[in-house]
Structures are given as structure tokens and as C-alpha cells.
Amino acid sequence: MKWVRFTFLILAAAVIQSSALMDIVSLTDMHIKPDILLVLLVYFAINCDSYDVIITSFAIGLATDITGTQIGPCFLSFGIIGTALSHIKKVILLKHTRQQALTIIAAGVLAYSMAVILAKFRVPSTTGGPFKIFAVSVYSGILWFLIRWPVITLGKWIGVGIHRFGAKPQER
């Protein structure tokens, strides 16, 4: 895992996610946009070894928080969901694109719901419409079918996504 390249990728994704460019693909007057960082969270959770998943999940959560208004809620929720996904992949391989898209939807709903609950502890007036959370997650899951190959290419550039059967990474 090449961490410098990973940091650059996450920063670039965070900038694109919060830029006005994403308004081009937004839907309805609620400005529902796909979440690139959510897609990357699930991708790294599925394709990295469990040690790296913990670091990548929390890092992506921090990037999501930095583009928002509060630091902490997404850092925790993405970290927990990413770590949980790394354990789930030991039972369910999640090799098919449809499975991965459904995982993005489920992870998005859970992660953002958890983030809204955590955010309310800090700022009680925080609002997080359940419909918008669901819509963003579904949109991100659909987007996975379109951006799968560029993400896999970038993943290989970072040093993930290559399954080596028989060569077990050192697990503790």
C-alpha cells in the first residue's frame, strides 16, 4: 500500500466531492449527489487487508468530515463501517459488481445514519433527512457500475486490489 498516493487520491476525491462540479450530476432540487468517498471506502474495505482497511476507513471518514461542517461524526462512522466490512468480506467475498453496489448502498445508509446521530450529540440542531441519506447511497451504488474500472485502475496504482491466493499478509 503506497500511502502517499493514497493520501493524494483521498484529497483529490474530497476536493471533487465538495466542488461545484458535482452539481452537474446532482438530481432534483434537493441536490442529491453521489458520494465518491463512500465508494472509495467500500472499495478499500473489500480489497485491502484488514490492517490497512482500518487506516483507510478512518482516513476517508476524516476527509468526509473536513469537507463538511463537523469533525468527528464521519471519522467514527466510516471507521466502524469500514472495519466491519473487512470482517464481513472474510465470510462473503463480494466479488460481483452487483454485490459491491448493494454493499455501497447498505454501508452508506448505516454510515450516514450513524454520523447524523453522532453529530446531534454535538450540535442538536443538526438535520439529516433519511430520504436524502438513502438517495445518496443508492446513487453512489449505481455510480459504482460506471466508475468501477477507473477506481480499480487507481487502486492498482496505489497498490491494492490484487488478490494473491496463498500469500497471506502477516496477521496479528
Binding site: A14, V15, S18, S19, A20, L21, D23, I24, T28, D29, M30, H31, S50, Y51, I54, I55, F58, G61, D65, I66, T67, G68, T69, Q70, I71, G72, P73, F75, L76, G79, I80, T83, L118, F121, R122, V123, S125, T126, T127, G129, K132, E171, R172
Partner: protein
């Protein structure tokens, strides 16, 4: 002998990061918001790429008999504010008799700012606490109330727009037929408008009535136009009240310059 590289176990790593996240969550908002503002400061150029406000320049009208929609909205806002000030002064004169009144000067206490970044129902402007801004101050866009200051750093601030459901403002609805105002509270609908709920149906309110931000001590000296009622129907959950939908005076995508009302303590 080779040095053993320190590598914590997965559980240790997870617990450390989890505790770090809990600490971040417990830090005060005014400390962590600096990170958000720093991100916007550093990447401001890239964040504004593709912004519609810089490209949405309406062409000047070629006919002397017509004006553009944006100019029409600006004229309507100016007229509504003046009309309101006129009625307010007339009411006060009738109440106080021969006492001379000083009209509040709307041009004092305004800090002009530019919108440097846009998010869902939020603007980031290039003024902060060094310019006298603080949370709760009203923000005007072309003379109409568009939101309130949410968070402030030394040189940039975030503006919560009136279309956000977290933005709650005391408002007054003008009823020109009977020359009075109805009080209420407005909050955004997370789309392109706002809602006013729990107004009893005994008040004769119709679509097209103006909605003003009510005066607030220390923040707003006189009423300011917000928009007008686009829809007024019987409440879905409670049929004895109105469900009022308010349309803002302007399309927020077209606003690039704002003014923050900063009143001094004696004002």
C-alpha cells in the same frame, strides 16, 4: 541484529483511532471548524470550478420598455423594503403623535463580502471575526435576507441559507388588505424554499403576501424582505392551521456578493 519495526495490533490500532475520533467529537466546534475553513481556504479555487454563479450573467435587456428578471427582482425587493418602512413609520407616527422619529439608516453596519464557496444550503464568505462578524447575524443578498451567519473564523464565515431546515427565523407576514402583520417562525424545507407552520386559519393569508424577517434586538433593527408566499394551503396534519410555502426573493445560484448586518452594541 535487525531493528523490529513497531506495528500495533489491529485491535490496538482500531481502539486508538476510535478514541481519537471520540476526542475529535468532544472538541469545541469553534476549534474544529478551523480545519473546515482551512480546507476551503487552501482549495477554494478548485472548489469553485464549475460554479454557476460566475456563468449565470443574464444579458442586458435590449428594449427600454423591459428589464431582466434579476433586475425586476431587485426593484421589487427595494420597493417592498421601502413600502414596509413607510408603513412602519406611518404606524409609529399615528401611535406617538407629534414625536419626531429618526429612520434607521439601512446603510450603516453593513459588511460587504463575496461568496467564495457554495455547498448545500450554505455559503462560505470571505469575511470573519476581524470584520466584526459573529454567529446569528443576518445576511443580505441584493437587499433581501438570504440567511444567517452560522460559524465564524478570523477571515471566513459560513452562512446558513434560509432554505436549510436548520435555519429558523422569526418572520412577519404582511397583509396589505388590513394593513397589519402576522407573526410566525420560518424554517427551510431543504429544497428551494421555506415553510411557515402553525399559522391559524383565522388569519386571512393568501399566496403573494410578502414575508419579512422580524426585528431582532442586536441583529436586525427593522424588518427586511425575505420573499413571498408561493403556496398557502390547509395543514396536512392539522387542518385548522395554514401550511405556508415561502419562495425566496432571489435564486441563490445567482448571488455572488452579500452584505452582513453588523450592529454595534449601542445600536
Amino acid at each position: 541484529m535487525a531493528r523490529k519495526q513497531f506495528k500495533p495490533s489491529k485491535l490496538t490500532l482500531f481502539i486508538s483511532l476510535f478514541l481519537f475520533g471520540c476526542i475529535l467529537l468532544l472538541l469545541p466546534q469553534n476549534v474544529t471548524s478551523r480545519v473546515n475553513f482551512a480546507f476551503i481556504d487552501i482549495f477554494g479555487y478548485f472548489l469553485n470550478m464549475g460554479s454557476s454563479a460566475t456563468h449565470n450573467r443574464q444579458p442586458q435587456s435590449s428594449s427600454p420598455d423591459f428589464v431582466t428578471r434579476h433586475d425586476y427582482n431587485r426593484l421589487w425587493v427595494a420597493f417592498s423594503n421601502l413600502q414596509n418602512e413607510f408603513f412602519e413609520q406611518k404606524r409609529q407616527m399615528e401611535t406617538l403623535g407629534k414625536v419626531r422619529l429618526t429612520e434607521p439608516d439601512p446603510s450603516t453596519g453593513l459588511v460587504l463580502a463575496k461568496v467564495v464557496s457554495r455547498k448545500d444550503r450554505q455559503f462560505i464568505i470571505n469575511r470573519g471575526s476581524t470584520d466584526g462578524l459573529k454567529a446569528g447575524q443576518y445576511v443580505l443578498g441584493d437587499n433581501a435576507v438570504i440567511g444567517v451567519i452560522e460559524q465564524v473564523s478570523t477571515d471566513i464565515s459560513s452562512v446558513q441559507l434560509i432554505t436549510s431546515s436548520a435555519c429558523k427565523l422569526p418572520i412577519k407576514i404582511s397583509a396589505p388588505d388590513i394593513n397589519t402583520y402576522f407573526n410566525g417562525t420560518m424554517h427551510g424545507n431543504d429544497k428551494n424554499g421555506a415553510m411557515v407552520l402553525n399559522i391559524p386559519q383565522k388569519y386571512k393569508i393568501k399566496a403573494g403576501f410578502n414575508v419579512y424577517a422580524a426585528e431582532k434586538s442586536g441583529f436586525l433593527r427593522s424588518m427586511r424582505i425575505i420573499g413571498r408566499i408561493s403556496k398557502c394551503t390547509a395543514g396536512e396534519k392539522n387542518p385548522v392551521v395554514w401550511d405556508i410555502t415561502v419562495e425566496p426573493a432571489y435564486d441563490f445560484n445567482n448571488i455572488t456578493d452579500v452584505a452582513v448586518i453588523v450592529l454595534n452594541q449601542t445600536g
